[in-house]
Subunit: 507 residues, 2 copies
């Protein structure tokens, strides 16, 4: 059987650009995983790991013009956005290098022996060790920050785990270029190139999740694809953790007082957030609860104006464009759903931004309206007009898990004055991983306290894929009981030769 | 259909003692979960939660004689062991109360806003919130410490999660008694009794894991039962974390130098560890790598002597006794397997301790010998005699995941002198959650640094069911972005009114 070619495609024209690779065979996936597994010991040295991560950042920065050009040609995301995404990507590598140096991710705990307890307590020294080879499934919408050189890869390498990335078909050339830079960085840092590998192809992705030497997986993508891989990970003879980010509606609640105070500002801000990256962000606000009445109408008017002035944009690929056009058509056709700015086909290769509007009481009927509570990838949002706080609360109670939930409050409400704010904070905390007040969910800061995850289907685990704690996904604890100092890992020795933070109990 | 009765049975006689309850119907499971879910808000106050945990410990201590009598009548574990187990159980409640007071389990991280970065970094404040109702599956072999008032229950309540326990059929009366004490403690602490419930019956256990309002589960038991529940948890429309402890062989490696130095001591110690609690510990050493030759023979001789002098014991129930007798018979019948002290039936209701011996090179043949690498619950272990370090390493390389791995080293090896110790530590770290040197794995200290878990099938997740970090299983992170102080949870407010430990970045 001939190898299946992997093409780089220009979404602006739909034309094939070049053949980049071929889809990996069963044997090639096996070889990549075995080579990564064999190289895992080389990542044990934390200093070398940190140097590798910094070198990777440096090489990506040096190759910036090539990387951005390659990514733009395949994704049409534009040099501006991609320049920012590359900075985020290299910043992420450097932040994880700093985390490796600092060491608190090892969560070291030491309990000294206590012969006075009944039974006597032995000495225990605990830290965390890397899981082994990690499979990373790259996202369509972030060719850098959530793909080959993305947060899953950076955090797994920081933890000491080799990585095999299943490249996304929307940007195979960018994937190959970034992989070659990462592999070069490994060699420069004195590590085998095999600590990073890339495979292409749908079947290769399934082979990867089933491979006995793969120990964990990270995924960013759709509910359908992610759930299939989650199920495969759970069905293995030895199940493995599957950290998937699958989909999110990212509800926004605009209070009556906020609409009264800032209707135009909120409508304009919403339009900016919905159309950022042509609506292809996993934290795009997809459902906005807006009060009925004049203030809400002003907000809708501002949204109408801003979206009406938005230029058509190019989606990541033609299948996505078809899904978007069909998805908004299905939603707009429901009785009682208006489309003040009709989203949809904007030209042969582009789509136009827009929004739908529907009364909350209609949404609460369920049935065919459930589709309005599902993510629709692309530049569209749904305004759900509510007639009182009870209606808003009832709709929030019907939502699945989300990456984010956003509240638009009045100045007095934000100050803790009377109103529904406290109740809303409490309610949206139960359904999201990040709660935003008087801002927009797009733009996920890479920072130690960040949490990018949330109740299913936002994430398949309670972990984060962005921020300092993302490294925790690739580690497991081990406790050493009464192990003599000479035989302990350096991280746990009494003299603390690596100067690591630790919590000590007793003695 | 008549309700299915739940009987308390005396394992010393096989006789029914009393009918304790009936198996929960679909509707009763649903009601228990809904009541627990409705009560979850009452656990939000950390001070009240800590008071509840301490009151639970006090009430269990006050009722000690009743609790121990009830547990002994159903399990035959004896008052001595059960007195110790109760102390461990109440100690566990108090330790989690202290953890709630201390607050580092919330893992609070605060990133101050930084307007100088590109893009500007917003303020982020992250902590952890409870998941919701937790299902706990009680273990047969610890009627207290891993059952209704066990570590899963204590850690889940400490996290702020109501608990519905599926009682183990080996000790329903003890379960009911303990549940009534926990529910009384809740009421004394000003909480609704519904924060703890108990259900009986196999079907009730399945209903529980599938209930939409159950958010996570803890399990201690067999691979077969645990895997079925793990699969059900993963197959839900909204999958939930399943923290199961399923089975472990707990390998021990005796080096040639250790055998030369301490053959008799090791043989005697091993006998004590294997027969503790009639071999019904999940950390019982089930496979012991002993060198061939005279020193190993001396060790085997000491084991033979000690086990030969052990009185027959009563297992937890008659099905377990049948499984033990059949399991050791199947293993002993394999060609090349000796039974220097034949384990098996020791009387109508008792079993005798014993051990099997087999050359490692025979074990490495695989096929029918694989059964010797599976846990056999009860007072039996397998001595695997090895002819050199390579053979020992090859066998270790074939083992599944374990809760523990133990090394018996000579004094010089423990001091870091020449020998295989460093290599062994490194190898067993890959296959266990706890590594013990010159001790025995039985006796799992309740301590902040403890880790009771390990690679599958020792555990279905990378969490621990014992020790300070067990609470992490029942929490998920939430980040608050730009949320005004007045609207933040008290735990995250700028003035830190609850005086909680936190990591602050920037500003």
């Amino acid at each position: 059987m001939a190898a299946t070619p992997v093409w780089s495609v220009d979404p602006r024209t739909g034309k094939h650009r070049e053949q980049v690779a071929v889809e990996a065979t069963h044997r090639e996936v096996d070889e990549a995983v075995r080579a990564a597994h064999a190289a895992r010991g080389s990542l044990a040295d934390a200093g070398r790991r940190a140097a590798f991560l910094r070198t990777a950042a440096d090489l990506l920065d040096e190759a910036a013009s090539h990387v951005i050009e390659a990514a733009d040609a395949e994704t049409a995301l534009g040099p501006g956005r991609l320049t920012g995404e590359l900075a985020r990507t290299t910043g992420q590598f450097r932040a994880f290098a700093d985390a490796v140096d600092e060491g608190s991710y090892l969560d070291i705990r030491i309990d000294r022996a206590d012969p006075t307890t009944a039974p006597p307590r032995p000495e225990l020294r605990r830290y965390k060790v890397p899981l082994g080879v990690v499979a990373v499934y790259a996202a369509s919408n972030f060719p850098l920050a959530f793909s080959v050189p993305g947060g899953d890869t950076a955090s797994a390498l920081a933890a000491g785990c080799p990585v095999v990335v299943k490249a996304h078909p929307d940007h195979p050339a960018t994937s190959e270029l970034c992989a070659s830079l990462l592999r070069r960085a490994a060699v420069v840092a004195g590590l085998p190139a095999e600590v990073v590998a890339v495979v292409h192809g749908f079947d290769a992705g399934l082979e990867l999740i089933r491979h006995p030497l793969v120990s964990a997986a990270g995924f960013t993508g759709s509910i359908r694809g992610g759930r299939a891989l989650f199920d495969a990970a759970a069905a293995r003879p030895v199940p493995i953790p599957f950290h998937g980010e699958l989909g999110s509606l990212n509800p926004v609640v605009v209070t009556a007082a906020a609409a009264a105070e800032r209707a135009e500002e909120i409508g304009g801000g919403l339009a900016g957030s919905v159309t950022l990256g042509v609506g292809q962000f996993c934290v795009k606000p997809g459902l906005v609860l807006v009060p009925e009445g004049a203030d809400g109408d002003r907000l809708a008017g501002a949204l109408t104006k801003a979206l009406g002035e938005t230029e058509p944009g190019v989606l990541l690929d033609h299948r996505m464009r078809e899904n978007f056009v069909a998805g908004v058509r299905e939603r707009a056709a429901l009785p009682g759903v208006d489309a003040p700015v009709t989203p949809g086909s904007g030209g042969e290769h582009t789509v136009g931004a827009g929004y739908l509007s529907v009364p909350v009481r209609t949404l609460l009927e369920g049935g065919p309206y459930e589709v309005l509570l599902e993510e629709c990838f692309g530049p569209v949002t749904v305004l759900a007009r509510y007639a009182g706080q009870d209606e808003a609360a009832a709709l929030l109670g019907r939502l699945p898990g989300n990456l984010t939930a956003t509240l638009q409050l009045s100045a007095a409400e934000a100050d803790g004055g009377p109103g529904p704010a406290a109740e809303l904070i409490s309610q949206v905390t139960t359904l999201a991983g990040r709660v935003v007040v008087n801002g927009w969910p797009t733009g996920v800061a890479v920072a130690p306290a960040q949490h990018h995850g949330g109740p299913y289907p936002a994430a398949t685990s309670h972990s984060t894929s962005v921020g300092g704690t993302a490294i925790e996904r690739w580690l497991r604890p081990v406790a050493y009981q009464s192990v003599p100092d000479a035989l302990l890992p350096a991280e746990l020795r009494e003299a603390n030769p690596l100067n690591l933070p630790r919590r000590v109990t007793g003695g």
